[in-house]
């Protein structure tokens, strides 16, 4: 397997190498169908409607992920399946406005949900935390119209949001 140095621009016209980049190895993802039985259960149960219900849902997800977290960590696949579990369990929507299908919970509940998931799988707790932060970006830097528009977009589509800002 050839490892090749890839040069990229940093936006200042400065070229630099990215170490350990293998350009001939396709990215490998975990398969969401491994959680089909849970997707079906969560779909039929619907999203929780109370704070305790959200924490209970988080504990269930934590238990599922905790069964094989070390093995999945070693396998080092990009976590498409794991994120699909967060989606079907509804956890990406815990903070979302109820009028768009979200849980309407507050940040203190969201942090408890993150902690519950992290007990079973620290990496997935981190991803959930990042998503909840990024998905509420417009609440912080946007105006009222943008806040509504992006909450609607993200919650109704059950999108998982990544991102990055500097400094």
């Amino acid at each position: 397997m050839a490892t090749q140095t890839v040069i990229s621009s940093d936006g200042n016209g400065v070229k630099r190498p990215h170490a350990l980049v293998s350009s001939d190895t396709p990215r490998e993802y975990s398969d969401p169908s491994v959680y089909d039985i849970y997707h079906q259960k969560f779909n039929s149960d619907g999203n929780p409607t109370s704070t305790e219900g959200w924490l209970e849902r988080a504990r269930t997800v934590s238990q599922i992920l905790g069964e094989d977290a070390p093995a999945r960590d070693i396998a080092n696949l990009s976590p498409k399946a794991e994120v699909s579990l967060l989606k079907s369990a509804g956890l990406l929507k815990v903070l979302g406005p109820q009028k768009y299908g979200g849980g309407g919970q507050t940040w203190d509940v969201a942090y408890k949900v993150i902690r519950e998931v992290a007990k079973g799988d620290g990496s997935l707790g981190m991803l959930l935390g990042y998503h909840l932060l990024w998905s509420t970006t417009a609440n912080v830097v946007g105006n009222e119209e943008q806040k509504e528009r992006f909450q609607k977009l993200i919650i109704e589509n059950n999108y998982f949001v990544g991102g990055k800002s500097s400094k």
Binding site: S8, G11, H18, R27, I74, N143, L153, G162, G163, K164
Partner: protein
């Protein structure tokens, strides 16, 4: 970062500032890195740059980009679709056990 231009079909925070449709050329992500540069090109905004990390980015549906508009100190955030030619992710091979016995001693 490859300079493939592609239209995004999502509403953008940027249109609050520009009242224009937005076009994103390139993005990627992480602190420790420089801000993305934003250039105006006709009625489009082009985000250009590279980031070393983007937690969860490769499995995301949307990516939040932040950059600075050229010639200003204005920071602009936008949501874009992650799956587009303007955003490319490197494949990093992370050693499973980076420590040798000697390191552990």
């Amino acid at each position: 970062v490859k300079r493939d231009t592609c239209d995004i079909h999502l509403p953008s925070l940027v249109d609050f500032f520009t009242q224009m449709e937005t076009n994103v050329v390139a993005g990627a992500v992480n602190p420790r890195d420089n801000d993305l540069k934003i250039k105006e090109e006709g009625d489009k905004l082009i985000f250009d740059g590279a980031k070393n990390f983007n937690t969860g980015g490769v499995v995301s549906d949307l990516t939040v980009l932040e950059g600075v508009l050229e010639g200003t100190e204005d920071h602009i955030f936008t949501f874009v679709q992650t799956d587009q030619p303007g955003i490319q992710f490197a494949v990093r091979k992370i050693p499973q056990n980076p420590y040798t016995d000697a390191d552990i001693k």
